[in-house]
């Protein structure tokens, strides 16, 4: 009699007398699949192992010849829907919403980064707020689209140093001389062009869901993982999802000073530009749609996953549709400035409505090294002493 028995599924060697394969869990006493090739439904693959599924006439289900799992035909058809990402169809027709043009204004064009800054006739731009280039050309601007609204500046740029000091609190790796050495260039208030997208996501989201449980028998710990297809049907409304329409304004910087209180949007009036600059949008809504779509979809999927919280889930199929999409063009107030420290430029931005300040700070290399080595040495010494005590 043979000492081992070979698994019909994975060819693993198992001790003679075993009922199930130690490697893949397949039934070792299962008879080889004798279903004629012509009866196999090759287009359906097993969700567990990817092998072709075969229709079992006895059970009326699809059976996997490799791992012995059986599935309802309807379940498999549902499961085998192609994994797709949402492709929202935005029927915006935004040109109708933006058919008014601004009255003639002054335009400054930066030859360095290409930014086109507009302002009223009384405000002079001395340098580009994005790239800090001092050579900018003045032109007369005509035909610029009029924004649907604007949030006026509410926060004064005075006291920006105090704001930076507050922002730097708790930043352990900041160089000690940052406050004495840093130089702040001109703090420029800029109205950044932003597209605000509205819409409702409606439809079905399919999730791969798993639940796990463990138990111990003898010297073995068994972990059972059950796999489910979870289909959620629902809807979710989004309002004023912002995407900045300026290629020069870094998206991460703009994202980081969110949120704005959009209830304070007022109709655009040229007087709001007095003393400030405004960037002219260079990315139309079509170019901003992917960013808005992704943010909305991520939130919707997270909400649907939360509804199926008894499972650990991953997205399988996104069948959400966008209903009633609209877009508005608004100007949002932002203070942009750079801090010069040790010859390096660090860019900051502050929400002109709420005063929220963001930016990247210089890192002291010595402090960074100490942040690694001190806990390393303490932890290593403690563990080594404990190990020596145990080894004595």
């Amino acid at each position: 009699m043979a000492d081992t028995v070979r698994c019909p599924s994975c060819n693993g060697e198992n001790p003679a007398g075993s009922k199930f394969c130690e490697f893949c869990g397949a039934d070792l006493n299962r008879k080889p699949n004798t279903t004629p090739e012509s009866e196999r439904i090759e287009e359906y693959k097993c969700p567990a192992c990817g092998s072709p599924l075969v229709f079992n006439t006895d059970s009326g289900k699809l059976r996997c010849g490799s791992c012995d799992n059986e599935y309802d035909v309807g379940t498999i058809k549902q499961y085998m829907k192609h994994k797709t990402e949402a492709e929202f169809k935005w029927d915006l027709n935004y040109q109708n919403a933006l058919n008014e043009t601004l009255p003639d204004m002054v335009s400054y064009i930066c030859k360095s980064c290409g930014a086109e800054i507009i302002t009223d006739g009384t405000t002079a731009a001395t340098h580009c707020p994005y790239c800090d280039n001092k050579v900018i050309i003045t032109e007369k601007l005509t035909g610029a689209l009029k924004p649907n609204g604007v949030i006026p500046f509410k926060v004064d740029k005075k006291g920006i140093k105090e704001k930076i000091a507050e922002f730097c609190k708790g930043k352990k790796l900041l160089p000690n001389n940052f406050f004495t050495q840093q130089m702040i260039d001109e703090v420029q208030g800029v109205y950044v062009p932003v597209w605000l997208f509205d819409g409702t996501l409606d439809g079905k989201v399919s999730l791969d869901g798993t639940t796990s449980s463990s138990y111990t028998t003898g010297n073995y710990r068994y972990t059972e993982t059950s796999h489910y297809l979870v289909e959620c049907d629902g809807k979710m409304d989004f309002r004023r999802v912002p995407v900045d329409g300026s290629a020069k304004m870094p998206d991460d910087l703009m994202n980081s000073i969110e949120p704005y209180d959009y209830s304070q949007i007022v109709p655009f009036d040229g007087q709001y530009l007095s003393g400030f600059l405004a960037d002219r949008y260079d990315q139309d809504p079509d170019a901003s749609i992917p960013t808005a779509s992704q943010r909305m979809m991520n939130s919707a999927v997270r909400a649907f996953s939360g509804a199926a919280s008894k499972y650990s889930t991953t997205l399988r199929n996104n069948g959400l549709n966008l209903i009633n999409p609209t877009v508005k063009y608004v100007l949002l107030p932002v203070y942009i400035f750079n801090c010069m420290y040790n010859g390096q430029k660090y860019r900051f931005a502050m929400n002109g409505q709420t005063g929220k300040l963001v930016g990247e700070l210089p890192i002291d290399k010595g402090k960074k090294a100490r942040a690694f080595w001190i806990p390393f040495l303490i932890a290593a010494a403690i563990v080594f002493l404990i190990a020596l005590f145990l080894l004595r």
Binding site: E22, G25, C46, P47, A48, N69, Y71, D72, T75, Y79, G170, K171, L173, G209, T216, Y220, R221, Y222, E224, T225, S226, H227, V230, E231, C232, D233, G234, K235, M236, D237, F238, V241, P250, L253, N255, S256, R295, M296, N298, S299, R302, A303, F304, A307, A308, Y311, E360, L361, I363, K368, A371, P375, I378, A379, A381, V383, F384, A387, L391, R392
Partner: protein, 292 residues
């Protein structure tokens, strides 16, 4: 008359079953017929090797006796030691705590072993009963603190290879050596290899690395407050999320099996241990042993 014959018949049948089984358990001659009123005493001219299982040669017995006496003398006649082998433990102690240890404890106490007022010392007992072969160390008096769980395990680990190989003499020589170390230092120094220390260094480096990197990365992350927004949660209209239906379909189940290493607390051969148990004569003992 019939009744008398019936009673005689039943008596004969019962004696046929009961008397032989009672006769099979013939206790050793030193075992008292009544243990309830036993009083401790100091025996005289006691042998330090009692080989009732006859597993030692005469020369081995003589050498072991010499070594045991040397050990007793080395520690100022403070701790007694006797090596005792038997063909069985005669079922003594069955159902009691530390059941394997009651018979050697009885042997030690009923024969008058032990030094000083509290009869300090120990016995190493080897039972050669087929199907129930084991050894047991039982300590009394001042020797008890030395027979801690760790020390008994170390003793058992030390002699187990010899016992399994049937080298009982070698096992007892090793036992005496280890017991000498226990009485001298309080414990048996563990033999550590370079690999053990290398493991300690690696563990220290890995834990240190994790601590250092996690501390540094959290502080670096704290310096960077600029990031792309992944979600639009701030822009979901309040209470607008409607879940019309949720449909869950079971697909399949996976079962994985992971081997759990048995706990090392029971030692290599799985020592049983008792920090305090009583002999049939009421003496308090500590000790443990293993089956082989």
């Amino acid at each position: 008359m019939k009744k008398i014959l019936f009673v005689i018949f039943i008596s004969v049948i019962l004696s046929a079953f009961l008397i032989p089984s009672a006769a099979a358990v013939t206790l050793p001659s030193w075992y008292p017929s009544d243990t309830s009123d036993f009083s401790d005493f100091h025996g005289t001219n006691l042998p330090r090797v009692v080989d009732d299982a006859d597993i030692f040669t005469d020369m081995e017995e003589a050498r072991l006796t010499e070594k045991v006496n040397a050990l007793i003398a080395e520690f100022g006649n403070k701790y007694d030691l006797v090596i005792f082998t038997d063909v069985s433990n005669y079922g003594i102690g069955r159902g009691m705590e530390a059941s394997d240890g009651v018979y050697p404890a009885d042997f030690y106490q009923f024969n008058g072993y032990g030094k000083g007022d509290n009869y300090s010392g120990s016995v190493i007992f080897i039972s050669m009963e087929p199907g129930n072969r084991y050894w047991w160390s039982a300590a009394r008096g001042d020797s008890r603190p030395y027979f801690s769980y760790d020390n008994v395990n170390a003793l058992d680990d030390g002699i187990e290879p010899y016992m399994v190989d049937g080298d009982y003499y070698g096992a007892m020589v090793k036992y005496i050596t280890l017991l000498e170390e226990i009485y001298s230092t309080g414990r048996i120094a563990k033999k550590r290899t370079v690999g053990d220390y290398a493991g300690a260094v690696i563990a220290a480096l890995v834990v240190g690395l994790i601590a250092g990197l996690s501390n540094m990365s959290s502080k670096v992350k704290n310096m960077k407050r600029v990031a792309f927004a992944k979600y639009a949660n701030d822009y979901i209209v309040q209470n607008s999320f409607v879940l019309r239906n949720i449909n869950e379909m079971f697909l399949y189940k996976n079962v994985t099996r992971t081997y759990i290493q048995p706990s090392s607390r029971s030692g290599g051969g799985g020592s049983s241990y008792s920090g305090g148990y009583s002999s049939s004569g009421g003496g308090s003992f500590s000790g443990g042993g293993r089956h082989f």
